[in-house]
Amino acid sequence: MTMSQDTAQNIQSGSFVEPKLLEVDHVGLSYITDNRTLEVIYDISFDANMNEFMGILAPSGAGKSSLLRIIAGLQKPTRGEVRIKGRKVVGPAKEVFMIFQNFALLPWKNVLENVELALTPIKEITPQERTRKALKAISDVNLAGFEKAFPGELSGGMKQRVGIARALALEPEILLMDEPFSSLDELTAEHLRGEVYSLLISKDSPIHTVIMVSHNVEEVVELADRVLVLSNRPSRLLADIRIDLPRPRNKKSEEFYKYADRIYSLLV
């Protein structure tokens, strides 16, 4: 938080500005099918702050998953651009990794190998260090003892823990989450949500920004420091709401309801 205030002051004083970690600058997306243009994202701009858990809520079809993939460099926007540390994103940047809705685990690799695979392209770390990092991440998500298990032998919640462990081991500065809880049953999701914030956002965590896309209002209010609400297709930014609630958040509190109600009214 202090970091972003610093940069804000720098801008005012006109001195040298360290580029922002992530800037989404007038991004638009449209598809051309059968000579018809389908506008998905009209125009979206926002910056991400340091040590912030950001939630993006949007009606279905508003291109929230596409927005995430544009940030990840997996998809090209039709208009505008995304910048990471001032560099225009043209392909997957090394600062970014993602947690997937359906986990994206390889069934032929065990838990440890799945986590390690994402680390193999990083040439600076030795195989021993790679294993050490992977094991640490696996134990951080409470999967110690399951290193040799294969994804097929794990429950959905455990699979997503592997997905989280992989992201933790990789230590991306920007972590994207694409509906990470929506293919889990409600009880498992509830449990995992309770742990995920402190895992990802902490003082010593190398992850600076988390962006989670979701269609579940309660989930976003529970987890996010800041919520972006998008309109129907073609989408634009409707609201940028800061959630000022102490953690752990009480879903039954009046304040929680107020936030949720406000967001619901925007979405309907």
């Binding site: 997957p92 090394k94 993602m98 994206a104 069934p107 690799k109 695979l117 294969f150 959905g156």
Partner: protein, 541 residues
Amino acid sequence: MFIPSLNLLSQLIVDTAYSWLRMSFALILSILFSWAVGITAARNRTAERIILPVLDVLQSIPILGFFPVVLVLFVDLLPGMLGINMAVVFLIFTSMSWNIAFGVYESVKSIPEYYLDLASLERIGVWKRITTLYIPASWARVAYNSVTSWSVGLFYLVSSEIFSLGSRTDEVQHGIGVDIATFAGNGLWNQYVTAILILIFAVLLTRVFFLSQFVTWSEKFKLGEDSRMIKKDPIYKLYSWFNLTARQRLFSTLAKRTKRIPKLNVTPRAPPNSWERIAKVIKYVVVAILLVAAGVGAVSVLPQFIAGNIVLKLAAAAKDESIVAEALAFSFVRVWYVYIIAVAISLPLGIAIATNKRLFDISTPILQVVSAVPAPALLPPLAIAFSNLPFGGEMTAMIVILLGMLWYLLFNIISGVRTIPSEVIEMATLSRLSKWEAWKNVYIPAALPAFITGSITAVGGAWNTLIVAEYFNISLSGASGAPLTQVGIGIGKLIDIADLQGNLLLLGLSILSMSALVVTFNILVWRRLYNRTTKRYVYNR
């Protein structure tokens, strides 16, 4: 520039129509057979236990090897041209029907319970049940499997038409396969190319105007779910069924057995110790030997009841069997070295096509056209081109077998890789895996189950191809009676020669030994490989 005359064109069109008539007749027969067998197996426990294993074995036997026998039988039994045409139809039927029969069996078996309850409540009789429930419920699979069956049948159509030219019996009259072989045999290359083009055109026409319409029409009979079974993708549409059918082909009985026991995965099962394994192998080998012995017995001993001197005949049989074993060994090596070449081509090519959208879009129509040519149709020009080279026969055989294998492997690998969820590919991209790391860790393992099923089909098909690829006896204009192409030693050649000489003992021994080898190999190697890969290499979130 060669412009085909109206005469030639009309001849080709009429002959293609004759060929297609044989195909259609075989398809109708196959569907009727499949309903009878499939519905019975699905609704009757005892019948199920007999029919499924029998279909299993029949599927993996190299049918083309039996053609000479079938040919003699039908020609002797039926008058005039009826005999030889029925023989061809029968052969195509045997290549089409198992696949459809399994489809009917599975769709009737998987009719939701409440439909059956409803039928019982309304007191619908057996016949009405068949016409109003079982047959409609099976249409989708019948149509879908017909697409595959048609492609497979085409291979047998051309093979059998060509083969009939070199056999002792009558030749097939009017058939696109006959035209192809005779044009090539007489060096009429312009006419030959025209015939191939007409054949490709007919295949594509059938795919677009009949098979895909049939599949679309049958969609409406689907009982819920499974709507993703038919993909928009043309390659999927045609060939994803190879996956399923090859699986059913070998493992339907086995899969059912394992399904019944839900495993908890708490304690890993102790691996079967080596003694159990050896005992199993011995069991299979004994079964195989018994099969061969039974064959020898049937062929050699039975006639002896009529004409004495069993000892002498048995000695002859044993001597023949040693010839057969040698030929089998040579053919075995031939099939496998060609298979290795086919894999070396199709695995990288298939993955490259499947992972590159532009390459996929460009290559799909090309593959559609090229794969429409049944490999045996290309045999004559290859044989002539290589005839003066050392190992010319071997090279001809290699290319014909290779072309037979390539498509099964290629289409299976492409569809296998394309089933990788997009999230996994995104994960690989975001992890910044190098090309080699992505192939090694993601694409090749993902293609493995489909690759194995493709291999089963490809190698199975190769054994059939041997009959035409190893030895091809058609007289060139003005040439002596020497065969157009032949390899040194091979079981396909042996079968052809035994047929030409009328040596029924040798013919029977060859066919049965080959079948025993193929069936044993399926049980010992493919089945295990398949089980191992599907256990781990399949996405099921």
